[in-house]
């Protein structure tokens, strides 16, 4: 098992820690709209690295590229509810692009190149954060203050 796999596993656990305790409450609500999108994106984020590295490239490549271009940015732009879905998408893609550039540039600068590890890190951070945002939107009272919309 590689370091990337271990980190991905941690991502699964973190996402489960966020979502599983809320499942009884979530089951009483209809999960749709924005929270549903965030929950799906969270699941895809933690799957991006294993699908890209272990899955067939015809599926894994576009899947991983699409997820990595949206999920990290969507996870960190919690400072403000943008409102419009297209605006939210463009900010998420821009932030993801910027983070990918900076992280890849950092790997190049320090001379440690490990693409699966970086993808796993992105997924492990983005997945639970997105899941937390989704749960927060569905069950506002259970979220911590200041965690954003």
């Amino acid at each position: 098992m590689s370091v990337a796999d271990v980190i991905t596993l941690l991502g699964y656990i973190a996402a489960a820690v966020v979502v599983v305790p809320r499942v009884p409450e979530l089951r009483r609500r209809r999960v749709r709209g924005r929270p549903a999108v965030l929950l799906v994106l969270a699941g895809l984020a933690v799957l991006a690295e294993p699908v890209a590295t272990h899955g067939p490239s015809i599926v894994g490549a576009p899947f991983a590229a699409a997820v990595l271009l949206v999920a990290p940015g969507a996870a960190v732009t919690t400072f403000r509810r943008v409102g419009d879905p297209l605006d939210e998408l463009v900010v998420a893609v821009a932030m993801s692009g910027a983070l990918l550039i900076l992280a890849s540039g950092a790997m190049v600068a320090i001379g440690y190149w490990n693409a699966p590890l970086l993808a796993a890190l992105f997924g492990t951070i983005a997945g639970p954060v997105l899941a937390h945002r989704a749960v927060h939107q569905l069950l506002p009272s259970t979220a911590t203050a200041g965690s954003g919309p």
């Binding site: 590229a65 400072f79 297209l86 463009v90 893609v93 540039g105 790997m107 190049v108 190149w113």
Partner: protein
């Protein structure tokens, strides 16, 4: 009712409405207009128009014969049904623009426009366009293979951010950059449209005006910024960063930096004059009273279609929570850092734009331009060794800086294409001026300043003759937003619809020629790529490739640093306006290069191919037909050993 009186009544109605709900809630609805008399909903009609346009476009694609292309580029081989699809789309959007509501319909039109104008590239071309994209692919392959960069190799290794990100994607997914490079244009076309929409919504809450701005932007952007290149991501990130500032970092009413200074000065002057009982001239008294605090801090809702003032929310409510402001600022800094390590030129445009926003009071984080400047300067400092050896960082030769890399001369069709592109620029400026005149008000000052500041670049940088194009690219979004002021008050009447359709159609035709008019030189043959690959994989290390012109898809592999010339650059060219050029298309000029290289212990190769031929013929560097004849004659010259031949492409080893 005339259009003007309609506009006035619209303003009055809006001004009378509750400022808490007008105009955002009333305007931002995506609901469609009313059904026509025969019971068909307008949105349904427009959907049918779009479906037909897409159908015609799909039907046209198999009939595009790239081999029959003339010097007029891609438009010369586009079938009539392709043009019909564009006409249908322009007409449909113009009608939708004149109707109330239909916000989602207009967004769909914009999406279809992006697909129709940019989506055909990966479908009709087997390999990426633009010869210079292949060097980017070579750098991406180098990073993916080595996991590092070498700053002494070239400038790309000194600004590696974008290439490193592409290498990451390639390494993770196993998909080579060559395979997705052709899709970059569609991706960045869509991303650019979304970014401009994001920015425009920081200036106005009128959805019609926002959609018009995006449409105008897409049709006016004949300069290519969307291929697989650092400038593409830099442009996109810069627009989103500016949008974040415009949307979420507005100054609170009365706290704009410029106005605060004026207020302070005015109040000090007022206090002094009152204290000492000075008698001021009438005009000075009026000025003093006008710049009083109550005037400065006023907060007025603008009617729909007008550009909001710095403190007015356009499409967003004001969020005063500290993390909303600092989060947006952090996102801007992150994007700016990514730009700074990816592209040399974009940070300067970003800095200038942020200075304008801060000065205009549209960005309350005054330190942002300073932070972006520090990031840029820091990265330039890290690259100082390479830059000082190979480039002139600052040049005050304005005439040289403002000159274009593409010569004014060229074949007749080439000159026509150039004139059409320039005419499109003039059309955009004229529309922007008319839009500004129609919607003139205090809110537009920022837009005018943003339009006027990018040309400042010509004062100190030419960017290899490309600066003038980048300046235009960074002016287009602001010009488009200004031009969108013309749509205020449009109604679904023949008098309004016909001119809107006409302008849209003219812009579309000009765009197609401006953007795709040089396709004969921009398109690349797979044989040329194979030839370049052969050279980098088979020629002895430190061999040098000589080209008729640099418009050839070389280098292309991660081994390219092993084949640089004596100047540390890639290849020698015989024709063209680059520094290492012989200027004469003769066998002797190639032999002289080979003799010089032999003295340095290097072997010399020469490559000939269709994209080089098209380039030198289009730009009149050699008489038409002479290059092909010259290339064919090389096979019979003594000392020229053919080592690769496929189609019209060949490589010869030149014996000294």
């Amino acid at each position: 009712m005339t259009p003007r009186t309609e506009l006035v009544s619209l303003r009055r109605r809006s001004a009378d409405a509750d400022p808490a709900t007008t105009p955002i809630e009333l305007q931002s609805s995506g609901t469609s207009g009313t059904a026509h008399g025969w019971g068909v909903h307008p949105a349904g009609v427009h959907a049918a128009v779009m479906v037909v346009a897409i159908g015609l476009w799909i039907a046209a694609l198999p009939h595009i014969d790239l081999g029959a292309m003339s010097d007029y580029g891609l438009p010369s081989v586009l079938p009539a049904i392709f043009w019909a699809s564009l006409v249908l789309l322009c007409a449909g959007f113009a009608v939708a623009l004149c109707e109330d509501g239909l916000a989602r319909t207009r967004t769909a039109y914009i999406a279809v426009l992006v697909v129709l104008t940019h989506g055909m590239v990966p479908l009709i071309y087997d390999v990426p366009r633009y010869a210079y994209v292949y060097k980017h692919i070579a750098v991406i392959r180098y990073i993916a293979e080595h996991g590092s960069v070498d700053r002494s190799i070239d400038i790309y290794h000194n600004w590696p951010g974008f290439f490193a990100a592409c290498a990451f994607v390639s390494d993770l997914t196993g998909v080579d950059a060559m395979d997705y490079a052709n899709w970059a244009q569609l991706f960045f076309g869509a991303a650019g449209a979304l970014a401009v929409r994001f920015v425009a919504r920081g200036f106005t809450s009128d959805p019609r005006r926002v959609d018009a701005a995006v449409w105008i932007f897409l049709l006016a952007m004949w300069v290519e910024v969307g291929y697989l290149a650092p400038q593409a991501i830099g442009y996109f990130l810069a627009m989103v960063a500016l949008g974040l500032a415009l949307r979420f970092l507005r100054a609170a009413p009365g706290r704009e930096p410029g106005r605060r200074a004026v207020t302070w000065l005015a109040e000090q002057g007022r206090a002094v004059t009152l204290r000492w009982g000075l008698e001021l001239p009438e005009r000075w008294r009026a000025l003093r009273d006008r710049t009083g605090a109550s005037r400065v801090t006023r907060f007025v809702r603008r009617p729909p279609g007008e550009i909001v003032s710095p403190t007015e929310p356009a499409c967003d409510g004001v969020d005063q929570r500290w993390w909303a402001s600092w989060g947006a600022a952090a996102a801007i800094v992150t994007m700016s850092a990514a730009i700074a390590i990816s592209h040399q030129l974009t940070p300067f445009f970003l800095i200038i734009a942020f200075v304008v926003l801060v000065a205009a009071g549209r960005c309350r984080q005054w330190w942002l331009p300073i932070a972006i400047t520090a990031l840029t300067a820091g990265w330039i400092y890290l690259a100082r060794d390479y830059l000082s050896a190979h480039f002139t960082l600052i040049s005050f030769d304005v005439s040289n800086n403002s000159s274009s890399v593409a010569q004014a001369a060229g074949s007749e069709p080439h000159q026509v294409v150039s004139r059409l592109a320039r005419f499109l620029t003039l059309l955009l400026v004229a529309l922007a001026a008319a839009g500004w005149w129609r919607g003139r008000g205090p809110g537009q000052t920022t837009l005018v300043a943003l339009v006027c500041t990018p040309p400042l670049l010509v004062l100190f940088q030419s960017y290899g003759g490309e600066g003038i194009y980048r300046i235009y690219a960074f002016m287009v979004p602001w010009l488009a937003i200004l031009a969108s002021g013309l749509v205020a008050g449009l109604r679904p009447r023949l008098l309004h619809v016909v001119p809107t359709v006409a302008v849209s159609l003219v812009a579309m035709v000009l765009f197609m020629f401006g953007y795709y008019g040089l396709e004969r030189t921009n398109s690349v043959s797979p044989d040329e790529i194979a030839a370049s690959q052969w050279f980098e994989e088979n020629a002895p290390v430190h061999s040098v490739l000589t080209l008729l012109s640099l418009n050839s898809p070389t280098p292309v592999t991660a081994r390219y640093p092993l084949y640089r010339n004596l100047d540390g650059n890639w290849g020698y060219q015989i024709l063209g306006n680059e520094p290492y050029v012989t200027g004469d298309l003769t066998v002797e000029s190639i032999r002289q290069l080979a003799d010089g290289l032999a003295k340095q212990g290097r072997r010399s190769y020469v490559i000939v191919g269709p994209s080089q031929t098209a380039y030198v013929e289009s730009f009149d560097d050699a008489p038409r037909g002479s290059v092909s004849a010259f290339s064919a004659s090389l096979a019979h010259q003594p000392g020229f050993v053919p080592v690769f031949h496929r189609g019209e492409t060949a490589i010869y080893e030149v014996l000294p």
